[in-house]
């Protein structure tokens, strides 16, 4: 029974990883940018919510809306002022500039909030520890279920936007070929800014859930980035749903690892990630070319 429990908890944890990873995957799919500040942006959002609720005394709901909107704007501004310029110099430069941004965010947070570990658990009352029991031995946390549902909803929403809306078509067209997109009247700069806004807002959602289910500190970003990255690689970037599959595989592996040995949580995750990576490499380089382009569609 304990194994069933671990698998179940792992699946729910996978929802959190998918939330964290889908923005990373979107940004890479549309702009070919690997955003090394993704985890730090998530943590930044958590601190902003903390600032508004604990220190400015705002209720949680308006604070969440304000922070998500602010993070979306930040994403668009980041794209226009920094990423767009970096991208002109090839793929490596955005990697360096987002790495720099990561350091800047971490140290601003450290300067502003100190090294203390915080949590938003107090702000959500009993939701932080309430659970449903299944039989006698299995308990699932309400928050974990909520996070999982939020992930599924977000992925369904993103998929619908990409498949059905003018913005989604413009995103897919620009992801394939920004120059040709311009020729049919798409302002690819605006589309890139929209993609960055969506990606950073989803990172913020991930960060806020992290803050509710656990703790966060100024330097917590890179660890979350690793999880998001592993999720994307395991899931294969073949579709947005790949991030959910990748997240679940990673979460289940970590929980089973933890059950085998108290230190096994991270190791098991990393091992599965490396296995996933090895499989992808073994499956052939031919796939990697089409993989990114097919991000939003079914594999051909």
């Amino acid at each position: 029974m304990i194994w069933v429990n671990q698998v179940l908890q792992g699946i729910l944890l996978g929802g959190y990883y998918a939330l964290l990873a889908c923005g990373l995957s979107l940004m890479f799919g549309v702009m070919r940018i690997i955003n090394l500040a993704h985890g730090d942006l998530a943590v930044l959002a958590a601190f902003l919510v903390f600032l508004l609720t604990e220190q400015a005394g705002l209720p949680l709901a308006p604070a969440l809306i304000l922070v998500l909107a602010a993070m979306a704007v930040l994403g668009a501004v980041m794209q226009r002022t920094m990423l767009e310029r970096s991208l002109r110099a090839g793929m490596l430069v955005p990697l360096l500039s987002t790495f720099g941004l990561s350091i800047v965010i971490e140290n601003i947070l450290f300067a502003g909030f100190g090294a203390d570990t915080r949590s938003l658990a107090p702000a959500i009352g009993s939701l932080a520890y309430d659970s449903w029991s299944i039989g006698d031995e299995i308990y699932v946390g309400r928050l974990s279920v909520l996070i999982f549902l939020a992930a599924v909803l977000l992925l369904v929403g993103l998929q619908l936007v990409l498949a059905r809306t003018p913005l989604g078509r413009a995103l897919r067209a620009t992801a394939e070929n920004p120059d040709i997109a311009e020729l049919v009247g798409i302002n690819s700069r605006a589309v890139y800014a929209a993609a960055a806004a969506i990606a950073v807002a989803t990172a913020a959602i991930g960060g806020i859930f992290l803050a509710m289910r656990a703790t966060f500190a100024p330097y917590a970003g890179p660890a979350q980035l690793i999880f998001a990255f592993e999720t994307v690689v395991i899931g294969g970037m073949s579709s947005l749903w790949g991030t959910l599959v990748g997240g679940i595989v990673l979460g289940v592996a970590q929980n089973i690892g933890a059950q085998l040995d108290p230190h096994g949580f991270l190791i098991a995750g990393h091992v599965v990630f490396l296995l996933g990576l090895a499989c992808r490499l073994a499956l052939g380089a031919s796939e990697t070319g089409g993989r990114f382009r097919a991000l939003f569609g079914k594999a051909p």
Partner: protein
């Protein structure tokens, strides 16, 4: 001000790539509903001129006017929305999207159509190019002829006033090129201005009112098609030293 009837004009356009001068003070104009063919040997600057007209390249000097207003600084997306559409020599559909989506994205963003009107525009464009039966195919599964047709349908969906065609007949068999000519003649009936670069001169002559010949970045002849083809400079440059 622009002369009456001139819809798109390049004036004194120079385009340099570092030391290489690709366009050397080119003057070019196309009137409303006029069809102009551009011929010239490889490297004459034909495609570059089209890129300058479409806004893909900014000229190093000179101006581009559309309906009398200067658009030299407008990018490709903005010019597309104004009514300048182009097709590429090598068709570049959005491969992961369906044929219909390719056209729809053009109709909604480039043409500014919304809702029902966008769908009608797409159906009309696809039908005109004989692509309606393939509307639900993924664009990357299409062969060359269908890709060229899609390229044209996508350009049409943006509701252009001027259509810039870059070797849309290239690589096609005579029968296929014939179909393409029929489609383009139909477009002429719709009062579209057309600028068409083509190596297959006899195809071009079936459609155009006026022929421009370029060589080494300059316009060397401009006038009635038969007269241009008979021009000594054209024969020398384009047909290679009076072989004809």
């Amino acid at each position: 001000m622009a002369e009456a009837g001139v819809i798109l004009a390049a004036e004194g356009v120079i385009k340099r790539f570092n030391a290489l001068i690709v366009l050397d003070r080119v003057d070019f104009r196309v009137g409303a509903a006029e069809a102009v063919g551009i011929v010239g040997p490889n490297g004459a600057g034909k495609t570059t001129l089209l890129n300058v007209l479409a806004g893909a390249f900014k000229p190093s000097a000179g101006t581009v006017r559309f309906r009398g207003a200067e658009v030299t600084d407008a990018g490709a997306a903005e010019r597309c929305r104004l009514g300048i559409a182009r097709s590429h020599q090598v068709p570049r559909p959005f491969g992961a999207m369906t044929v219909f989506e390719n056209v729809l994205v053009a109709a909604t963003t480039g043409g500014g159509f919304g809702g029902e009107a966008a769908y009608e525009r797409c159906i009309d464009s696809l039908q005109l190019c004989g692509m309606l039966r393939l509307a639900n195919r993924r664009a990357e599964t299409l062969g060359l002829l269908d890709r060229k047709r899609l390229e044209l349908a996508r350009a049409l969906a943006t509701d252009p006033v001027v259509l810039l065609l870059d070797e849309i007949g290239g690589g096609l068999t005579d029968a296929e090129a014939g179909e393409m000519v029929a489609t383009i003649l139909e477009l002429r009936g719709r009062q579209l201005a057309i600028v068409w670069i083509e190596h297959i001169v006899h195809v071009l002559l079936q459609v155009v009112d006026r022929l421009v010949c370029m060589n080494a970045g300059r316009v060397i002849a401009d006038g009635a098609p038969r007269a241009v083809m008979a021009d000594a400079a054209v024969i020398d440059a384009y047909l290679g030293g009076g072989v004809a």
